[in-house]
Symmetry: C2
Subunit: 248 residues, 2 copies
Amino acid sequence: MRDHDNSLTPEERHGLYRAIVTRRDVRSQFLPDPIAQDSLARLLVAAHWAPSVGFMQPWSFILVQDKALRAQVKEAFEKANAEAALMFEGTRRDQYKALKLEGILDAPLNLCITCDRDRAGPVVLGRTHIPTMDLYSTVCAVQNLWLAARAEGLGVGWVSILDENRLKELLGLTEKVVPVAYLCIGHVDHFLAGPELEAKGWRKRLPIEELVSIDSLSGAQALSPEFLAALRQAQDQAEHGTLGKLDP
Amino acid sequence: MRDHDNSLTPEERHGLYRAIVTRRDVRSQFLPDPIAQDSLARLLVAAHWAPSVGFMQPWSFILVQDKALRAQVKEAFEKANAEAALMFEGTRRDQYKALKLEGILDAPLNLCITCDRDRAGPVVLGRTHIPTMDLYSTVCAVQNLWLAARAEGLGVGWVSILDENRLKELLGLTEKVVPVAYLCIGHVDHFLAGPELEAKGWRKRLPIEELVSIDSLSGAQALSPEFLAALRQAQDQAEHGTLGKLDP
């Protein structure tokens, strides 16, 4: 028997929005405390309930626990990060070098979410014209897990400064399996109030109204004043953590 | 002032899980009723609060409202879908042809979420080694919006059977802008109890324990009996809509 009731309660709805606006990319606040097994199981099932092209479910979840293996991933990060720093110029490079961009050894768990491009054979419903749809499905699983972690009080950090081939080698991935996301997961001392890169002056949050247009990217047709006001109010509520709250 | 409280209430937490397990890829249940502007604004801001590599926020949101334009997108879908059908063999082709795979003209709103690969210049923090990270960020925005829609009682369907170049042409996208997701959005008659492709016998849900391994994809190290039981219980709870409910 499944749940056929259409509507979430106002508090449930607000829970979804709270998870969305208070979710952070965690690098520095991890605690060593272990993650409860039932909590981890819920995260993985939340990921598994993501949408997937042709119901392909192309994902696999590799729990990276071995300390020596994690030290090798950390080493791969250090190498890539040194290469990355050289791509920035002047003060931007100094600013880059001062950022902590991973919690590989700090977090009690690392998790690699992969995409098996052969999971459902060569022809996949919905992937016939946009071949990256299976990678996109896998990212939906990552985001589900990230939000579920936030709801469980767990922080997640996505480490993307890695050589993909080295990561494949370390995790024993076959040719057709892509390591889409390498995640650090654990309890946190606290969740930061806003994105760390914003707080550290790397880049600002863009106003939502600059990102919305009608019928084409150039947006010759203007948004109505009412809709503009609604967009600004929603962005303001997100900044204050009240998005989706009834009578905020 | 932002919300610094770490924890969601049990009901809020359950709301997040309910949105995740009851979210559907909607093709056939759209109602023509318009979407409230404040509701749409919340969806877009939820998407805008997705994680993005280097806080790049590469997304834009094109509300596709013009009927003639939507008819052209529908035509592009019909063409691609006829090509797709030919890629399947025998009874699978018949089964494919019997599926309704889009609600472009049925839904009151279409939305294209794009990724501007030049949004933050050529060198982006975190995109230096995996160049697709900005596309992945955009998919995180799609999934946020999809879950927010579910919480608002709105259905979303992702139409991926489209020629990307034709879609770029129709929406006036410049070279460096990728149309990551073309979505149909609207109120629904009802949400299906489970994934439509599963109900129609296209493909089954995989058991979660077959997707989880330790330290390598081949998973020489077995999962503990306790963790296996936790995974199976969580999958069972997801099937019954009770995932993340306290004392389910």
